[in-house]
Amino acid sequence: MLLAAVALIPLLFIIGYTIAIGPEQAAALIWRPRMGELLWNTVRLGVGCMAVSAVIGTGAAWLVERSSLPGRRLWHVLLVAPLAIPAFVNSFTWISIVPSATGYSGALLVVTLSYFPLVYLPAAAALRGLDPVLEEAARALGNNRLTTFFRVVVPQLRPAVLGGVLLVGLHLLAEFGALQMLQYPTFTTAIYDQYKSSFNGQAANMIAGVLVLCCLVLLMGELRLRGSARYSRLGPGSARPARKVRLGLATAPVVLAMAALAVLAVGVPLASICYWLITGSSTSFDAASLVSTATSSIALAALAAVATTVATVPVAWLYTRFPGRWATLIERSTYIGSALPGIVVALALVTVAIRGVPALYQTTAMLLVAYAIMFLPRAMVSVRAGLAQAPPLLEEVSRSLGNGRLSTMRRVTLPLIAPGLGSGAALVFLAAVTELTATLLLAPIGTQTLATRFWSLSGSVAYGAAAPYAALMVLISAPATYLLTRQAGKERS
């Protein structure tokens, strides 16, 4: 309950604030030309990025999973690799070598390259999970390959692709660093600017309100999708791998196109970082600062990982063992809380802390609370999967063999859920270690993380000095990405 309440602070804060200032003032703040401009910017970037991501993600997934494309494993890794490069690092790598990559086209390019794997991954997993028996059945019922694709494959892919696309949308609404760097104003950058320039609570909070509304619209779509989509294969045994479609003469152009995508999404960022590392390290390289920021990044992320995972266990327990309306409500509320952009979470926590518990303002504890709110679902998914490994039946068997509750917990439940707890903590750690937005607003004075130090350096066009921080962040994120590809590989076998 407490967890749900904390997770809902940002949402309740925005709603409460809007009610408190009254409808007229809220309307006056919302119906401004500036707001319309921001909305237009946000929507057209969102729609563009979601559409392009859907096409690239699904197409690439089909090529990797269902065609005779050579080197599937390599492509799989390359297509997931962009996730290891935080979007704001990606935009830095582009703008530092292509200064004209700003505005709508620049933003669309960079953000899409950063986020299309969010569609690729679920689409590839869904294609892999599709039982070819269904397609064979459709063929036997008189459909040719094309009609089978549209009548059987596409409907089954739809939940996965739509889910991925909505996730892209949510990430985009929350994206701050990349868009600020590309000088493309959206709601998040506007909130930040308002907050920094004037500490103007009202305007910032109202923009946040509209932003939250956008998030909730996407979230409703996502929740409905999650609720109804049950296309996964049931029954024992594993699906036979599907037969590959032969590309034939199209192989060369397809490989070229995939290579171009990989160069843009992975090659350019890495090359750019290397370039600045080589040319820039001579000008100003502060090893001591790199070590100290890395240390504080890792320490903060580790604390966040432990705190978030521990907080997740009771909720996940409730949800898997005593499913019901309350458990679902609590679980969903943690989910909604975390779908809000980091900037909104930070803003809400700042205001609530200043008014309610000033002692908390600018403390590590508060930053950890923000991380926990934002990254709870990552831990939740893993911990729930872990708990599913420990069905109540095993605990009952243990009880009947003479073990009390505590002994059962120690000998059966904990060993079984430990991998889930571990991977949940790892996911939170990797998300927190490169977190920028909330850290900028909430980090105690004097605390600098890799992300914030990188931000201030690249903001002052010290690209060479910023590069080591970018490289370190990519290096730290790489293991998670590797895990993602390996996990996919395991499902394949």
Partner: protein
């Protein structure tokens, strides 16, 4: 080892009543099968005995010790019950040996001799001891689950449909292995199943459950030959049920005059004849009093065959014959009944 005494047990979940006043006695060292269709409450009964949930009313006693009753509740870990769930439910993070010794006191868990002894009891090779559950076949998992349940020498062994997840070829062998192990360890055991072959072939006593009530409880041959009613008769196996008129120890109906297995008052009655009692032969003579029938369908199983036939001016009957001696559909055959028929208790239809 102990006897199990269940008295007046009732349980409901919300407004759904699952058990109504179940009484069951399982003598010390005997094997009882609780037989019923799915949803009849048999698994609930087992969970109440194990202590995983509590009855609303009634008592459960192991010998002289009441383990569940008004104001009394012994937690599952102190009941000394060996529980073998469906699909084994082995601990996936432990080897077969560690699973088997899970319920032993800490000092004895390392004893390899006890593991080997139990593996031998359930008919497995010692080589499986170091394998993890996912490296074992379904039948092996089930046997390890039994070994794990038997290791702490429980007062009572409970088996919850332990063979239903096994395929037919494996099921028969595992059943025999389990039955032998239970007899060898002289355990008091309760098996819950919906499979009448399993219940009849393994148990000393079959308790038939229906809609949360215990309908009949007796030796396997007794429930098969003298079922409490037509439903029990049909649940335990294929049954031909016909109306007849009883007088002076003989019943006269569509199958001609039949001897009765037990004396019965004169008057109309319902008779049970098992298909294996009905013989169909080709030697139709047309003599008076001879019962003839036309063969409708033949289901051939190899070792035997089931034949559906319509008696001239009478009901459709089912006969089991040796596979090689089956008639062809459309043939006219002579019907004879071997052995006595059983009069089903209760009011016969049409009276």
């Amino acid at each position: 080892m102990t006897s199990l005494i269940v008295r007046g047990l009732s349980k409901s979940y919300g407004s759904t009543s699952v058990l109504h006043g179940v009484d069951l006695l399982v003598p010390n060292g005997s094997f009882t099968a609780v037989l019923g269709p799915s949803g009849c409450g048999k698994t609930t009964l087992l969970r109440l005995i194990a202590g995983f949930s509590d009855p609303d009313t009634g008592t459960i006693a192991f010998g002289d010790t009441v383990v569940a009753g008004p104001a009394q509740r012994v937690p599952p870990e102190r009941r000394r019950v060996g529980y073998v769930p469906q699909e084994g439910a082995l601990f996936p993070h432990l080897t077969a040996a560690a699973n088997i010794t899970f319920g032993l006191p800490r000092g004895k868990r390392r004893l390899r001799s006890r593991v080997n002894e139990l593996l031998d009891l359930v008919g497995l090779d010692v080589a499986v001891a170091d394998r993890y559950p996912h490296q074992l076949s379904g039948g092996q998992q089930q046997r390890i689950a039994l070994a794990r349940a038997l290791a702490p020498e429980p007062a009572l062994v409970l088996l919850d449909e332990p063979f239903s997840s096994l395929d037919a070829a494996l099921r028969e062998g595992t059943r025999r292995g389990v039955a032998q192990a239970l007899r060898a360890s002289k355990s008091t055991a309760v098996l819950v199943t919906h499979d009448q072959d399993e219940a009849l072939s393994m148990a000393d006593q079959v308790a038939v459950m229906r809609d949360g009530r215990l309908v009949q409880s007796d030796k396997p041959s007794a429930v098969y030959d003298h079922p409490a009613d037509a439903d029990v008769a049909q649940f335990l196996g294929e049954a031909v049920i016909i109306s007849a008129m009883v007088s002076h120890g003989w019943a006269d109906g569509a199958l001609g005059p039949l001897q009765l297995s037990a004396p019965c008052a004169d008057g109309p009655a319902q008779l049970l004849v098992r298909p294996e009692q009905i013989h169909l032969t080709a030697d139709v003579s047309g003599a008076a009093g001879e019962i003839s029938a036309e063969v409708l369908e033949v289901y051939y199983y190899g070792h035997d065959a089931a034949v559906r036939a319509k008696i001239n001016g009478g009901p459709v009957i089912l006969s089991r014959t040796v596979g090689a001696a089956r008639p062809e559909p459309g043939a006219v055959v002579r019907v004879s009944v071997h052995g006595p028929a059983t009069v089903l208790p209760g009011v016969p239809a049409g009276v």
